[in-house]
Symmetry: C2
Subunit: 457 residues, 2 copies
């Protein structure tokens, strides 16, 4: 009997492994595919790899300003693909090496919980094996959602996973259904590498989630327009047909498009077909857990995309640690109060806490501080002057309750604001904090200046 069986080796499963090994648990792993899960193999990590390339492509025309004169640039997506494969395989090997060194048994196959302590592993050849565990952690992640009339075929109609794991040549023209995070990230990347991109979005803006302020959607849209990415709002893909190796699509506004592929990026759903013992799910199909990440069976835990918390790799990791801590007798609960949201599209975009609109909806009166990257010395030194920060403060106390950063470094800088929100810093605390000069972080001094010392104009 193992101390802990972990089903799924994505960010949740792997973090659980790391913590469990340190706590000397005797563990076993069940994984049907590659270690690293979606995040490493077909989502976050390949996306950020290609984003780095896309951003570099964009920045080629500033190299001259640093005396770097280049001629004859050509963009070869296939090579970028190979580079991505190399990076991911390095990371995957390091995970596998750890499992091997620590002699962790990895059962290759689909895991199904058939008893409170029993996991059946269904292998590729159809054979089955049952293993037993004191505790079980379900970390089986999620799969892409499809909509009624759009059926992914892995070739003409593809999911984000098809694109990132199996599409090693660049589509000349692509229709992206869904202008959310994945749509905006992949649309930017494909466009930078040379695809003609169309984004079709049901709502009236890019990134139409409550956590993304409308000014961010507008800012990104301006850039997409400059890049000649076509956007269609309040629009759906009504129908399509495949003829002569091409997709002919009709949008709800009457527009007719042709493309090499349709990319579906409208969301994900939990992968919860994992038991026969009645583990409880909510009405949307997520596994029900308490704050200790326990299911209705007290020795069976779940974390990550299968539970009803933000579907983010780092939330899976966080929850995995909570689960293992509880398994090892440390009584802790998950706290989702201050979570950063980040994406990499035409810019790095990061938010934390409440934005202006969300605060107003909660009846909180606010003042905000804004500063553009334009005059930040480091941004100027780096030719990275696109972007801005907006910080949101409770009007009376001037305590920070949230912030949005758009621009280079946003994905790291957001943690400073996150910590400030957590510690209930006032505008003055943030303003008088000593930041290195020249740093991007100094935008926080200037975004709080009006509030702390009065307006300049």
């Amino acid at each position: 009997m193992y101390d802990l069986i972990i089903i799924g080796m994505g960010p949740g499963g792997f973090e659980a492994t790391l913590t469990a090994l340190r706590k000397k648990l005797n563990i076993a792993i069940v994984e049907k595919s590659k270690v690293g899960g979606n995040c490493l193999n077909r989502a976050c990590i390949p996306t950020k790899y290609f984003w780095t390339g896309a951003h570099q492509i964009e920045k080629l025309n500033v190299l001259d300003n640093y005396g770097i004169e280049i001629q004859n640039v050509s963009i070869n997506f296939k090579k970028a693909w190979e580079g991505k494969e190399k990076a991911i395989s390095f990371l995957r090997k390091s995970l596998n090496m750890l499992l091997k060194t620590k002699k962790v048994p990895v059962y290759k196959g689909r895991g199904r919980i058939i008893g409170q302590n029993e996991v059946e592993v269904i292998k590729e050849d159809g054979s089955k094996e049952v293993i037993k565990g004191e505790n079980i952690l379900i970390a089986t992640g999620s799969i892409p959602v499809s909509v009624g009339n759009i059926i992914p075929d892995g070739n003409f109609v593809i999911t984000t996973e098809d694109l990132l794991e199996r599409t090693d040549s660049l589509p000349e023209e692509i229709i992206i259904v869904g202008g959310g995070v994945a749509g905006c990230e992949l649309g930017y990347i494909l466009s930078a590498y040379g695809s003609k991109v169309h984004i079709v979005e049901l709502m009236d803006r890019l990134l139409p989630m409550p956590d993304i302020p409308e000014e961010v959607s507008r800012y990104l849209l301006r850039k997409f327009k400059k890049m000649k990415i076509n956007t269609y709002f309040k629009t759906t893909l009504e129908s399509y047909e495949i003829k002569d190796n091409r997709v002919f699509a009709k949008l709800s506004d009457g527009t007719q498009l042709t493309a090499d592929k349709i990319l579906l990026s409208i969301g994900r759903k939990p992968n919860t077909d994992i038991d026969t013992i009645g583990i409880q799910k909510d009405e949307r199909g997520f596994i029900k857990v308490n704050k200790k990440m326990q299911t209705n069976f007290k020795n069976i835990y779940a974390c990550g995309d299968v539970v009803n918390s933000p579907m983010l790799a780092y939330i899976a990791s966080y929850e995995a640690k909570i689960a293992v801590d509880n398994i090892t007798g440390k009584d802790v609960e998950a706290d989702y109060s201050v979570i950063p949201y980040v994406l990499f599209s035409g810019f790095e975009i990061a938010t934390v806490g409440l934005n202006e609109k969300q605060a107003k909806e909660k009846g909180i009166e606010v003042v905000t501080g804004y500063y553009p990257y334009t005059y930040n010395e480091k941004a100027v030194d780096e030719h990275e002057s696109e972007g801005f920060v907006r910080l949101v403060f409770e009007k009376e106390s001037k305590k920070i309750i949230g912030g949005t950063i758009v621009g280079t470094g946003a994905s790291e800088l957001i943690h400073i604001i996150q910590m400030a929100v957590k510690e209930e810093y006032t505008a003055e605390d943030i303003h008088n904090f000593i930041y290195f000069h020249p740093s991007l972080s100094e935008i926080f001094i200037y975004a709080t200046y009006d509030i702390v010392a009065g307006k300049l104009f």
Copy 2:
């Protein structure tokens, strides 16, 4: 009578201006040279500009991994120089524009305090004008130090200011005297752009300051060796002569070198020849101030390199705000307890709080957490795997007391650790903080893992 006369328009003077204008003070400025001071015109900002270029040059060979195929790269320092001038002049113009818009009188000349409320402005043509102010802020900065036998001539023997403001062609070969911050920053840049660089350092390591741990010096030295930068430790420049437009130098260890130039980078001293009324200075020549930045004359304040606090642009700005706050009746004191130190050389290098050695010297028992960039997914995605973090915790309480980061992003990430030190976070607080994935910030999770959950090996 002005409310406030600011002498010197560097980072201190400019920050004072920004704050004073917001507080509706009637101010005047005295500046003998360009607005922006050393920082903008001949130190921080040009250095970071060239650093961006140097780093890009270094990274040219990874572009291929992103499918960016370039042929025929040539490096043209003159163009980088022009780019630098453009960036700086943009920033300088924006400062001038603000002063103009706000109708701030700028007296062009050297300021000398000749009465408790009187500043004499000595103009370039020798004419003088006296202006009067209720308060005076001395923000006249610092000038490069020279040593006995090495006399800067602006051509063969130059200061860092000569290099950054007036040397628009790349020296083929250069001897840098001093392996501190400026020596390591400029040595890296010049080498990346194609100079043959020799660094001569009196002490036994690069960056021989207490705030820089020895492991950082060693790490940087390894990179310098790879770049074929020559280093000479426990060595001084004994003598030199100039013949046929070349420098022939003899080091104290007997080594003979020839070069185009000698660069002096052994430090700076306060520029305090600014009064006739007996403003008190300490034995090292710094103006004496209390924590409100007041000199022995209660209406005369001083900030930045002229006072005995760390000679850093952002400390000048910080102190300037303290001074203006006190002038406008807000009783505040400078607090230097948690200051980030950052430099840009072969890597970004950043430290805050106490390192292991400093802690031991204070009798504090510590445990440390270490993590290399090697396995950080974002660093891998960006081909930025060089670097590491070391966090220092008080042994008993596991509270963080300091940290060092070497590698990409260090200059921004350090503020997260700085805030953690300020808030007395424990290793567990840092470990369980929710960082975006993939981000560089996640190194903090892994640098605290051993302490929080036990060792993996």
